[in-house]
Amino acid sequence: MSDGALLRVRNLVKQFPIKKGLLIERTVDHVNAVDDVSFEIHRGETLGLVGESGSGKSTTGYCVLQILRPTSGSIVFDDRELTELSGEELRRMRRRMQLVFQDPHSSLDPRMTVGDIVGEPLTIHKVGTRRERSARVRELLDTVGFDPTYTNRYPHEFSGGQRQRIGIARALALAPDLLVLDEPVSALDVSIQAQILNLLKDLQQEFGLTYLFIAHDLAVVRTMSDRIAVMNEGKIIEAGLAETVYGSPREAYTRELLAAVPVPDPRKMKERKQERRRLRASLAER
């Protein structure tokens, strides 16, 4: 089963300290933001990580990328144990895994031009000559459907959807294998959201990318994912093929989540409201 897994996460735990005291801070306790999480993602596959705020889904993503160092557990990327790496070795592995942020407003440096933002990873990792880099930037922008003639403009001149394209182009600069997408469309309007989701689907096809797709919107996760893991209070409480998890959920919490999603059909909503009341009554009894 684990053959061909690009990413294998085993028993991942991330604790954050709870501190007290103003001048002399001391740690009084720990909270397990991620609590014994295990999953794997195969090449070219999308694993959707869905859950409500505080469920630990983003923290899991940051641990995978080693932006946060895990408290314990193992993260194996292409047969290398990331938690044991540091310095240059870690940097080299990080090139192959990139993050796309939620908020294209705050994640792009407002003082840098579009071209500099997209080209920065190439500069940092000293890829190619100046000319080659600038050609690569244009190619990347073209790939994500952003007019490459605007490389000298600044991010604030563009709409949310266009800014997210810039963020995706930057993430693709070093030709990564894995993209961790943290709520990539939740700040966007529906019509623009569809454009970005289609782009992500196309890019995955074209470049054989592997996605860890993190979002709170259950329908968005469904449209992107081969398999889905549902998180609650730091744990994966249910995981499996997308159609199985959504079609015949085993856990009460998953059923509650699904029943809470408003769907654009007034008749269906009537049924869902009744289903919700039943679930709430049965949860209250326990």
Binding site: L197, A219, D265
Partner: protein, 336 residues
């Protein structure tokens, strides 16, 4: 007679760059005890419409340049600030997306609720406090009496929105305007708040305008719906008719762009995105404002003049030269 009647409302922003026509000729009625959903994407004018009704638009730069808002036999656009203050809260109440910005962080929630009660009713402090406890119980906040002394930051987002609802309902308004009341909340909390709103509205006979970007929330909550695009109403119908038979190409496209929760081949399928984005309202085209993104427009009247909002069938209005049912009748096909 309708409870609230908005006629040809135009709210423009007079900026250094020019006049932004945020709301540009909007008309609708809200009937007693019913829920009108106003749905649209950011910048379509749905919030400015609500703020105009309440007299809460920032002046300057904004100004209601024309139109009427008839409520209880008066035109609200003609009232003085003093008169509006009496209407707000007691007859029309509003709740917003983020309760943290509408609650005062330095006052306990008890103080904030009793303040509102005493602003509108001549009651003692003790009586107001008693009513406040009753209200918190009604919005299902556990241990209501002790929660009164808490500050807003001690409450979760869902509980804060419950407090806002308690304040909004404290004066038994006839109309509640809810602007994206659940957008900042988790989906299970959203469901609870929407259920609560429905229970309370039914118990008190309150009418509601629900403003949202979420087609699912509209389908769940609204009796009647208007779809706004670029400052105008582009479609208006009962919720059932709108979702069963959407007519405007924008409404159709918006529904088509939504990812589905169930069905075959979801993962493989691309979504039907709407190309481009809404026009700049600084200098909107004299043509149909959706024409540039519409797959049915091209070379005909809608690219040169603004279509009227017309009644296609009883109760179903559309502002387009290419509504779905006429396309079917004409046997129009589209080359994508």
């Amino acid at each position: 007679m309708a409870l609230l009647s908005v006629r040809d409302l135009r709210t423009h922003f007079f900026t250094r760059a020019g006049v932004v026509r945020a709301v540009d000729g909007v008309s609708f009625d809200v009937e007693e005890r019913r829920v009108l959903g106003i749905v649209g994407e950011s910048g379509c004018g749905k919030t400015v419409t609500a703020l105009s009704i309440m007299g809460l638009i920032p002046k300057p730069p904004a100004r209601i340049v024309s139109g009427e808002v008839q409520f209880g036999g008066r035109d609200l656009t003609k009232l003085s600030e003093r008169e509006l203050e009496d209407v707000r809260g007691s007859q029309i109440a509003m709740i917003f997306q983020d309760p943290m910005t509408s609650l005062n962080p330095t006052l306990t929630i008890g103080t904030q609720i009793t303040e509102t009660i005493r602003r509108h009713f001549d009651v003692s402090k003790e009586e107001a406090r008693k009513r406040a406890v009753g209200l918190l119980e009604e919005v299902q906040i556990p241990r209501a009496a002790t929660r009164l002394d808490d500050y807003p930051h001690r409450l979760s987002g869902g509980q804060r929105q419950r407090v806002m609802i308690a304040i909004a309902l404290s004066c038994e308004p006839e109309l509640l305007i809810a602007d994206e009341p659940t957008t900042a909340l988790d989906v299970t909390i959203q469901a609870q708040i929407l259920d609560l709103l429905e229970e309370l509205r039914e118990a008190h006979g309150t009418a509601m305008i629900l403003i949202t970007h979420d087609m699912g929330v509209v389908a769940e909550t609204a009796d009647d719906v208007i779809v706004m695009y670029a400052g105008q109403v582009v479609e208006q119908a009962s919720a059932l008719d709108l979702f069963d038979n959407p007519e405007h190409p924008y409404t159709e496209a918006l529904l088509g762009a939504l990812p589905q929760l169930e069905g075959d081949g979801i993962r493989q399928r691309r979504l039907t995105a709407i190309p481009g984005r809404p026009p700049d309202l600084l200098d909107p085209p004299e043509a149909c404002r959706f024409a540039a993104r519409c797959k049915y427009a091209g070379g005909d009247a809608c690219t040169t003049h603004m279509p009227e909002l017309r009644e296609l069938r009883p109760g179903h209005f559309v502002r387009s030269e290419h509504p779905a049912s006429e396309r079917t009748r004409r046997g129009e096909t589209v080359v994508v």
